[in-house]
Amino acid sequence: MPSFRDPIKSGLNEYYGKLKQTVEGLTPEELLWQPNPESNHILWTVWHMARVADRWANSTVLGNDELWIRDGWAEKLGMSTEKYGRGETPEQVRDFPSVDISLVLEYYDVAHASMLGMIDALEQSDLDRDVFAAYRNESLNIGWILGHILAEESQHLGQVAYIRGMQRGFDG
């Protein structure tokens, strides 16, 4: 088995497990709370993290349709098929629909599983290969993408934990 798979999968499962713990027990009001008008809220951030996982794995690396579109998650959550979160304005974040977090996490579960499947489908030689990320209009190296997914998703997890801490206190 190629040696890159274990550390990447370990990191993916670590941030995902911690995210689940971090959103546990939060009320709809806490999920939508913004410390200031330009700040993202937890619900938006978790939804965006799920979109990030789906897009990188299914669309950019594997070249398939996103589960967001293919399996009807956009429709289930009442959002447009294009909605992704990148570059959204504070108004768009504020007006984000108050969807049930458990439905967002159901979508994230399948997106996360597809990411683990993507890692298993990659061979060592794939890490040097470039793929075209249409929404960013650039070619990106798969090896770079794997590191980037861990870094991007974990940054958002840190933000979710921080916003929870602002409301619940240290370890609350």
Binding site: S10, G11, E14, Y15, P90, Q155, G158
Partner: protein, 78 residues
């Protein structure tokens, strides 16, 4: 945390630069066969494979927090 001395940020970054270089050397010297090697600190044992994933995840969480706190002060993308 509040009692942390007011250090010089550039000294701190210099320290971080040195640590980063040292960490890169450790990674460069690692081999595929060593992924399951176990490291123990205190009562906790983890594999090299876990450490590699964890360092990215832990450091990136803190980066997300740093960016968030900056945003609270300065506003979006400032």
């Amino acid at each position: 945390m509040r009692a942390m001395p007011d250090g010089n940020m550039s000294d701190l970054v210099q320290y971080y630069d040195a640590v980063r270089i040292a960490a890169s050397k450790v990674i460069d010297s690692a081999s595929d066969e060593g992924m399951d090697k176990v490291f123990t600190r205190g009562s906790r044992s983890v594999t090299w494979s876990w450490i590699l994933g964890h360092v990215i995840v832990e450091e990136s969480q803190h980066l997300g927090q740093v960016a968030f706190v900056r945003g609270l002060f300065r506003g979006l993308n400032k």
